[in-house]
Amino acid sequence: MVLKVELVSPTARVWSGEATSVSARTIEGDIGILSNHSPLFGVLVDGQVVIHGTNGEATEFKVSGGFLSVANNRVSILTESIN
């Protein structure tokens, strides 16, 4: 199983596709998501989001705050701004 990942800012969908793992920084610390993760809803702080795509490429984004939601192998990351 692969993860279907969407990284969304208020104005655009910045990244979407399939990935093997996603890591992000929540209020409580860094968290890594692999496939078949249990449903989760987390609050992100300023930091990096790294998406490891199925093609072996890792994509990094700097986000400032936001939310991470995981359910049924779908990961959505909502953020206010992305650099």
Binding site: P10, T11, T26, I27, E28, I31, S38, P39, L40, F41, G42, V43, F67, S69, A71, N72, S76, L78, E80
Partner: protein
């Protein structure tokens, strides 16, 4: 986003200030989204009228209303009638950005968090009036209650089965605290975008009918001008012919 909010709201048992309705509401904020510029037919008027109806409804329930206005048209309407304006934002109605929406939403949330019973700036409810964009031909001005949120128990089954049982990190209260202001911002942003789309559609339609009217006018005036020119020519010819006739008969008589 909406799905996430409903998941959080459904599974949290906490009483967040943003979701609990006041027992005895005193004041309500009404956010009206209108246009900055005219030439858009009845677009702004419809939104303002809808706002008036909502305000009347709220007054019937014994609530004071506070007006928050977006767009120069609504502002000048309220200024002309000497009404109090609690907040106004202009200059971005045709192309709103998320920053604009955030500014407006934050002002509303700030007023909502204040206790309306003791603070004259506090409000118990927030309503929004915007123009829903259905298609290029149909746009509807409508009023919606934004806060306090209602957890609606919908009869229809959820589209993709049950909502998953979310784990919250760090806890549902913290998530809700962080999420709800964003949700309001997103709602305001969505309303602004729909209103902007409606404004452009309304303006396009108004300009189209203005063009059609002008075309009709040009057609009828061209006909009128042609007829007048023709009449002038006919008259000149008959004058010339008449003059030539008179000359011919005069010279025939002198011979």
């Amino acid at each position: 986003m909406t799905r996430a909010v409903s998941a959080v709201a459904t599974f949290s048992t906490t009483n967040h200030p943003l979701t609990t309705a006041s027992e005895n509401p005193k004041r309500a904020a009404v956010l009206i989204i209108s246009a900055d510029r005219g030439m858009a037919g009845a677009y702004s008027n419809n939104a303002i009228k809808e706002g008036e109806q909502l305000a009347a409804l709220l007054r019937e329930r014994g609530l004071e209303t506070k007006s928050y206005l977006v767009g120069r048209k609504a502002v000048s309407y309220y200024k002309f009638r000497n009404r109090q304006i609690s907040g106004q934002w202009t200059g971005f109605s045709d192309n709103p950005t998320y920053e604009d929406a955030r500014e407006v939403a934050d002002a509303l949330i700030e007023a909502f968090i204040l206790d309306a019973q003791v603070d004259v700036n506090g409000v118990d409810e927030i309503h929004i009036v915007f123009t829903e964009f259905k298609s290029m031909l149909t746009q509807n001005a409508m009023a919606r209650r934004m806060l306090p949120l209602e957890v609606v128990e919908s009869e229809a089954p959820a589209p993709a089965g049950l909502l998953p049982m979310y784990e919250f990190e760090p806890s549902s209260e913290v998530v809700l605290n962080a999420l709800l202001p964003r949700y309001i911002q997103a709602r305001v942003f969505n309303a602004m975008l729909q209103s902007a789309a409606s404004e452009h559609a309304a303006r396009r339609r108004a300009m189209k009918s203005a063009t059609d009217n002008a075309d009709d006018l040009i057609k009828s005036l061209t006909r009128l001008a042609n007829a007048a020119r023709q009449a002038e020519i006919t008259q000149e010819i008959s004058e010339i012919v008449g003059g030539a006739d008179a000359l011919a008969s005069a010279s025939a008589g002198s011979e």
